[in-house]
């Protein structure tokens, strides 16, 4: 397990994502960390250890290579921005939702509506030029015949 600095961790994580594009998974683990470097003995006293409250441990692996980093409150702002961008940039192989896509639905509905309006307007347009040209009675019969 390689413990890296935050920046280096991000670079290596990008590399992991790129390596696993064709096959394999990327596992990322996030856990609160209290700064312990020695395992807690079953019996006996714990040697003057003060649990730190402001750190978290980030691990990443592709099944073969393992990397990790510790993030503390001082670095979290900068790290988080870079980390978020990294995740969003690399996790792009997922499906776009087009069944329930609202814009597509409204566009389709609008297209259908305009088509219907055009269809309704067509016979009306055909009828109206006919009426002024011919006298009223034959125009009426022509209109009914068109309908």
């Amino acid at each position: 397990m390689v413990l890296l600095e935050s920046e280096q961790f991000l670079t290596e994580l990008t590399r992991l994502f790129q390596k696993c594009r064709t096959s394999g998974s990327v596992y990322i683990t996030l856990k609160k960390y209290d700064g312990r470097t020695k395992p807690i003995p079953k019996k006996g006293t714990v040697e003057g250890f003060e649990p730190a409250d402001n750190k978290c441990l980030l691990r990443a692996t592709d099944g073969k290579k393992k990397i990790s980093t510790v993030v503390s409150s001082k670095e979290v702002n900068k790290f988080q921005m870079a980390y978020s961008n990294l995740l969003r940039a690399n996790m792009d192989g997922l499906k776009k939702r087009d069944k329930k896509n609202k814009t597509k639905k409204t566009k389709a509905a609008a297209a259908a509506a305009t088509a219907a309006v055009a269809a309704a307007a067509a016979p009306a347009a055909a009828a109206t030029p006919a009426t002024p040209a011919t006298p009223a009675a034959p125009a009426a019969t022509a209109a009914t015949a068109a309908q």
Binding site: F17, C20, R21, T22, S23, G24, S25, V26, Y27, I28, T29, L30, K31, K32, Y33, D34, G35, E50, A52, D53, N54, K55, C56, L58, V71, S72, S73, V76, Q80, Y83, S84, L87, R88, N90, M91, D92, G93, L94, K95, K96, R97
Partner: protein, 86 residues
């Protein structure tokens, strides 16, 4: 091992689980580009909550959730804790 179908439910349950015992809980994220799916798991080694997705719109939610939890973990509970100079 409950698997959640809605993000909203999963998010709430996960937050609750973490807040119950911050030191025990961990978040695992598994991404497979070849299969185009993403799986989030939150566990405290007793209870395990899972959410799987193949939708691109969930990436943003999951990434936000991850960041939110990171901030929670890193935030100091009380100001009385002695500053560790490392």
């Amino acid at each position: 091992m409950p698997q959640y179908q809605t993000w909203e439910e999963f998010s709430r349950a996960a937050q609750k689980l973490y807040l119950a015992d911050p030191m025990k809980a961990r978040v695992v994220l598994k991404y497979r580009h070849s299969d185009g799916n993403l799986c989030v798991k939150v566990t405290d080694d007793l209870v395990c909550l899972v959410y799987k997705t193949e939708q691109a719109q969930d990436v943003k939610k999951i990434e936000k959730f991850h960041s939110q939890l990171m901030r929670l973990m890193v935030a100091k509970e009380s100001r009385n804790v002695t500053m560790e100079t490392e």
